[in-house]
Symmetry: D2
Subunit: 304 residues, 4 copies
Amino acid sequence: MPLTAEQEAEIAAARAAPRPTLRATAPGLEAHLYTAHPVLDHGFVRVIDYMGDDAAIVQAARVSYGQGTKHVSNDEGLIRYLMRHWHSTPFEMCEIKLHVKLPVFVARQWIRHRTANVNEYSARYSILDREFYIPAPENLAAQSTVNNQGRGAVLEGAEAARVLETLKADATRAYDHYESMLSQDGQQGLARELARMNLPANVYTQWYWKTDLHNLFHFLRLRADAHAQYEIRVYAETICKLVADWVPLAYGAFADYRLGGAALSARALEALRRMLRGEEVSQESSGLSKREWREFMEILDRSS
Amino acid sequence: MPLTAEQEAEIAAARAAPRPTLRATAPGLEAHLYTAHPVLDHGFVRVIDYMGDDAAIVQAARVSYGQGTKHVSNDEGLIRYLMRHWHSTPFEMCEIKLHVKLPVFVARQWIRHRTANVNEYSARYSILDREFYIPAPENLAAQSTVNNQGRGAVLEGAEAARVLETLKADATRAYDHYESMLSQDGQQGLARELARMNLPANVYTQWYWKTDLHNLFHFLRLRADAHAQYEIRVYAETICKLVADWVPLAYGAFADYRLGGAALSARALEALRRMLRGEEVSQESSGLSKREWREFMEILDRSS
Amino acid sequence: MPLTAEQEAEIAAARAAPRPTLRATAPGLEAHLYTAHPVLDHGFVRVIDYMGDDAAIVQAARVSYGQGTKHVSNDEGLIRYLMRHWHSTPFEMCEIKLHVKLPVFVARQWIRHRTANVNEYSARYSILDREFYIPAPENLAAQSTVNNQGRGAVLEGAEAARVLETLKADATRAYDHYESMLSQDGQQGLARELARMNLPANVYTQWYWKTDLHNLFHFLRLRADAHAQYEIRVYAETICKLVADWVPLAYGAFADYRLGGAALSARALEALRRMLRGEEVSQESSGLSKREWREFMEILDRSS
Amino acid sequence: MPLTAEQEAEIAAARAAPRPTLRATAPGLEAHLYTAHPVLDHGFVRVIDYMGDDAAIVQAARVSYGQGTKHVSNDEGLIRYLMRHWHSTPFEMCEIKLHVKLPVFVARQWIRHRTANVNEYSARYSILDREFYIPAPENLAAQSTVNNQGRGAVLEGAEAARVLETLKADATRAYDHYESMLSQDGQQGLARELARMNLPANVYTQWYWKTDLHNLFHFLRLRADAHAQYEIRVYAETICKLVADWVPLAYGAFADYRLGGAALSARALEALRRMLRGEEVSQESSGLSKREWREFMEILDRSS
């Protein structure tokens, strides 16, 4: 993910000149502004702007004239209460704008979260860079044998080498042909909006992505989850760290109630109550399906 | 709209302490932050926070690393192009958060704009203030005789006096009874979530309202329009002035293309082309309905 | 909620003439179409239209050419899997359109759910009916002493009588004045868009409300909840019954995983695991706050 | 776009069994249900379901108990009024669900319209078909020399042949390698969620896409426009024909006011008024930029 010297200079310039503002500021996030946090082999996440902080959540919940409560402990209690009881609108009062560089197949998952504002680099208008995601060997996984929608063991030996070689060669060739079709050297040159169709889904794109904190938490809950595809999960995990520095109280509540929490069905609750009363409960007697029972057992046993 | 001394003090405190930030700042809007711009008899609009400026629109449109273009004139040209061709996503990259005090019947129109974040003062949880909108005499209008959904001449004489007296007396009585039903002095006291049902639609409520610039422009186009009800239009007009100070280039494009512009149908365009060729075109020969023709004539004749 | 004879006739006419369609139909919901299910003293819920059924959820999840799976049991397993794992998009493929008559203060809560389409009866354009919500004696509750946002014991004796009398008298007077201000008999007549401001929040309004099943479930989870205000909860409960007849498999999954289920935080899960290992866990040793502990105990003890 | 025999049989089965319904039906659209309208070389649009018709728009605008007005001419006048004055909510009361097969690079543009429900065929879960978009010779265009975001003349001769050959060969090779990486024959087999990254953007995907009529019109206005990329425009044009058969009055209003209409800025209106008064107006004296003037002249001259 090497930025060009010009890009580095633009970032340095933006970071060099603090300006006075009367708005709420979050020093923990100011420290990250504009710098590129690397993700995967060529991707990054950069915070471009933000609105609000923990106190702004409290202030909105109270529709107050001032700045939240007098005591941080009160703010924390209220924020945890709001999170616990699904009062989502105060969290919507914080907003963040990110610049993200990511492979197209990750972008296609990401864009499914509709409650966000997006400006993507246009391959109708511009020419994409020669950058492709090639998995690190430890992320080159076989199809899962138990989950149609997941991956299993890491590929080994000759097969791994073959796959890596194929991915690299096909991407390189596709990009060479993209360039040669676009070229106006001795020929008309294919329209950019058509030439892009030759590029594979591991080519990198980039966008500005802006969302509010409530919808960001929803995104992070789904995408920082262990079942999310690795290649989007690493973006979510990077963003989690940024959010923890931005709104530490809200992030703490999110981590406790959502990321680390679990939802139990009415049937599972009933089984649980019987277990707590000392009854022996089996999958059969629980009314849960085998798959539900397995997931239920994982919830009860997993380390925090 | 007199704020309490405590509220004034909170606002003064918030305005007293500028903090350094690396984010984009809009000096024109910083000057307005937190201060209450009066609207109607007890309402106001206060800017609580904002994200982005004109350069941020350009920056997002280009998915750039730096700060828009080198020259303001280039920024303006690009912003006008985006507005003209309905490229709405770059405008979504700016966000504003307002604290608004407004009568409930205005709030009911306002909330129909769904693409915004709202936290309203809760009358389940809290007790509303004794404040009601009573129209100024010059805004006490009769039902329009030509438009089912509009107002006509100003009420005069005894009728005007009667209406004002009725509105005041009913609001006062309703609030007195609200208070007496809530009272726990010698009785149980009705639940706040029930007692509020006795209050009329001109009681004031307040909320935090946050939206992006694209959706704000949509709101302003509909609500700053001459056909909007006066009582919401004055809020829209107040916000227009704030936006002009925040993002002057974008607001200029909006004023030219949307607020001051007009949409013509295919039939109207055809009539127009004939007129420009020197043909005499009448309502009958235009294919437009009488009402469409009247609106068409207004567009062609109205002063800019 | 007596409909007029003309309204009854319109409903009867709409119900009299089945037409052939190739679309998915839900016989359980066809039986309810257009009929008004009474809610509160003058309100109702009427199903105007719907799109899709249980099989349509399966069909969309599979992006299939045909009609879901061969066996209902497979459909149920898939639908429960989708619900359990928060795969919300297949549920968005069903849509329902309701005609609802409801008090304004209920409408103001309801409209906060933004992901829906709404057409409300316009009090700018039309004159509202003389209908107000007056609580039944058993729903006339005092303010809760433990929950700022809730109600406690039922009002009794003279206080109850006083409150009912006040609500009725104020509503009647407000409506009388609304009519007299509107009147064009010997006077100009106040604009409808202004006169409405005199009406209290228990006046009935009505709207067409259309939403997809995923967002409807979200609405029902919050509004059929025991903590929701009674006056909106009865609407949610009426809709629950309609949905159970429309998409029985999806509703069954919703009832099990959402309505009857519970979310546990990471801390609560850790306490639970300790309890299941036979440890004695107290509020203090759990890391939960007193309020969280109380809610946790309620989850573990409540009857299914 | 040859469907398999099994798919054809499923479609035939769905079309063979009309069922009675009390809902609004649109005979013009019933005739299209489930059949695949071909678009591009392998794509299609199929109507899966719909809700509402022209009368439903009128009914919602009036919040009525019955079925719109007595006379179609009244319905048309109201629908045209609603369209002209941007009253969008009644159009939101109609909904349509489509099954679309389309190249990934078209899907990436399409998904930017966020106010819709989508279920896409999952390449994490399933294996994509060997189908790629290869432009017909007459659509193989050079980059525009005047518009960075558009295409110009058709490619000719050897260059055209070269491009077609490249697109076909690269797609074929990419798919061959996709299959061989997935294969579990003598090797572990790469995870599907990874293997898909090797496929180019002209591979076909498919999805269920559901939206309301207001948002569909917005989509069609932008994507059936002459400036839209050809490959998405043909989908929009196909949908236009379906909508014209579904809601002929609403579509007629849309075609007149939006598709065939034009928006003029305040400056353009001022220039127009001067022209109609007989003044000679030039680009310089109009206050319009060169580009705006050119677009303005196109609006005034273009044939209807």
